[in-house]
């Protein structure tokens, strides 16, 4: 049973179209394929996977994988 963080890593790789083994833990916005267009796709994918709804500030503030983990914790997901 994958942990929540592992699930988030999968979401990141899929939304950013990165290879299955890519280490996304240290990834930041504007690195690799993570541009503005991908950013919104990523947000939608996370919202769907974890059944949460991002506030504007959550979207604007999610500048890294780590921040995404924090955001999910704040939205009540056990990370």
């Amino acid at each position: 049973m994958a942990s929540a963080v592992e699930k988030l890593e999968v979401v990141f790789r899929k939304a950013l179209e990165l290879p299955p083994s890519f280490d996304v833990k240290g990834l930041e916005y504007q690195q690799q394929t993570w541009d503005s267009v991908a950013h919104l796709r990523l947000v939608t994918a996370i919202e769907t996977e974890f059944d949460v709804m991002y506030e504007t500030d959550d979207i604007l503030g999610m500048s890294s994988f780590e921040k995404a983990v924090e955001t999910l914790k704040r939205l009540g997901v056990e990370m």
Binding site: L16, Y29, Q30, S36, R41, L60
Partner: protein, 434 residues
């Protein structure tokens, strides 16, 4: 070109990250110094690898001041792409991030009227450039200032790349009007961007369709900063409900929402739908800008105006060529004009698709994919005779620097062909539409 000095102490540009800023008088002085550093007896070609920074702005105006021709390219361009372009065009001057390099080697003859060169298609292999004259650049800036009523009280934030014709036209029109620019490297999906916009009380925002859709997703439509009075949309067709939403938000606060249509081949913009005509002319991209005119010939939109390019360049020798079009541009778009002269674009003739504001040639994509390619509603479809489409899709996306569902693969039992053995694009287009 824009008489920067004439705006004196008006603020020209602010860098949101460093808080560095300068007035027009200072920008003019910096540009003059820059020009002096690259002065040569003969006119040369300069490559400016541009990003949204004060250094770029100084270099750009400095190169215009110097009389050399400047080709603006995305600073994010890969080393391979850069080498390829530099090999073809042999620029004598290369500028990036505040550093200028003068290159040796045989210089290329550059036409006296040539001022600016821009790429037409994002990051594909195409080395084709659009050649813009001084008159065209100046004329389009004037027409944009007039049509959007830009004054020296306006302030915008750099939401577009300066190497993109739309982005550059914002810089040009603002320079002419003596209005101010806030430079940020952050995209509009970041807190830093909106912070900069608010802190500096920006009055105006320009964006491609994706940007406005992003604002909805960000729910910024619920809290557009109060200082923002003008929104301009170009770079493709914006979905009507989204356009209506932002038109509503702007008019409610006594502001304006403009829809515009343009091409790099016309410097930047050809038409404008004034805010007050938006509601009764929904779906139209407006009337020709001052100095321009549209006709429709065999369904194709033809634009006439001083902002039309001199022609293309695909080799160094082309830089010496003069004006080949005489102010008439066959746009490659299909459209209709109504009795008041309002234009509505209905489709494309050329095998070209716009993904997120960037234009790609379907023939170029086909050369990469090696399978037939068609577009439908700004999505590209690769038709494969195999189920295993993942590798080819990945290869094409990587080559173009595009992610997401804008490029898709379809598996078919057999590619339909015409009597002479070529792919039957008509049938493929119908299949793509399903």
């Amino acid at each position: 070109m824009f008489d920067l000095d004439g705006h004196g102490d008006a603020i020209a540009a602010i860098d949101a990250e460093s808080d560095r800023w300068f007035t027009y008088a200072e920008l003019a002085a910096h540009a003059k110094d820059f020009a002096a550093n690259v002065a040569t007896p003969e006119k040369r070609l300069a490559f400016l690898y541009a990003d949204n920074s004060l250094d770029m702005l100084v270099a750009y105006h400095g190169l215009l001041e110097s009389g050399h021709a400047v080709c603006l390219l995305d600073r994010a361009l890969s080393p391979a792409r850069r080498s390829a372009l530099e090999e073809i065009y042999r620029p004598s001057i290369v500028v990036e991030g505040g550093h200028t390099t003068i290159l040796d080697g045989p210089s290329v003859e550059v036409h006296p009227d040539l001022a600016v060169l821009l790429s037409t298609s994002g990051s594909t292999g195409s080395a084709k450039l659009v050649r813009l004259s001084k008159n065209a650049v100046r004329a389009n800036a004037e027409a944009i200032v007039e049509t959007l009523q830009i004054t020296n009280d306006d302030r915008t934030i750099t939401s577009l790349p300066p190497s993109y014709s739309f982005g550059l036209s914002v810089l040009n029109s603002y320079a002419l009007a003596g209005a101010s620019l806030v430079f940020t490297k952050h995209g509009l999906v970041t807190g830093a961007f909106w912070s900069a916009l608010s802190t500096h009380q920006c009055t105006s925002l320009s964006g491609v369709p994706f940007a406005y859709e992003a604002l909805i997703k960000l729910r910024i439509d619920l809290r557009v900063p109060q200082s923002l009075r003008v929104m301009t949309q170009a770079g493709g067709r914006l979905a009507l409900p989204t356009a209506e939403k932002f038109h509503g938000i702007m008019t409610k606060r006594g502001g304006r929402f403009y829809v515009m249509y343009g091409q790099t081949e016309a410097t930047a913009r050809m038409s404008c739908l004034p805010s007050e005509d938006f509601t009764r002319k929904k779906g139209s991209c407006g009337k020709a800008i001052p100095g321009g005119a549209f006709t429709v010939e065999n369904g194709e939109v033809v634009y006439h105006g001083p902002n039309v390019m001199m022609g293309y360049a695909s080799a160094a020798e082309d830089l010496a060529r003069g004006d080949e079009l005489g102010g008439t541009l066959r746009t490659g778009d299909l459209g209709v004009l109504d009795e008041e002269g309002f234009l509505t674009i209905t489709g494309r003739i050329k095998r070209i698709v716009k993904i997120n504001g960037t234009r790609f040639s379907l023939d170029e994509i086909e050369a990469i994919a090696k399978v037939p390619v068609v577009a439908h509603e700004d999505r590209v479809f690769l038709f494969c005779e195999t189920e295993n489409t993942a590798p080819i899709l990945a290869q094409v996306k990587e080559a173009l620097g595009v992610t997401g569902d804008a490029i898709q693969a379809r598996t078919v039992a057999a590619i339909p062909t015409t009597p002479n053995g070529k792919p039957d694009y008509t049938t493929l287009s119908e299949w793509a539409a399903r």
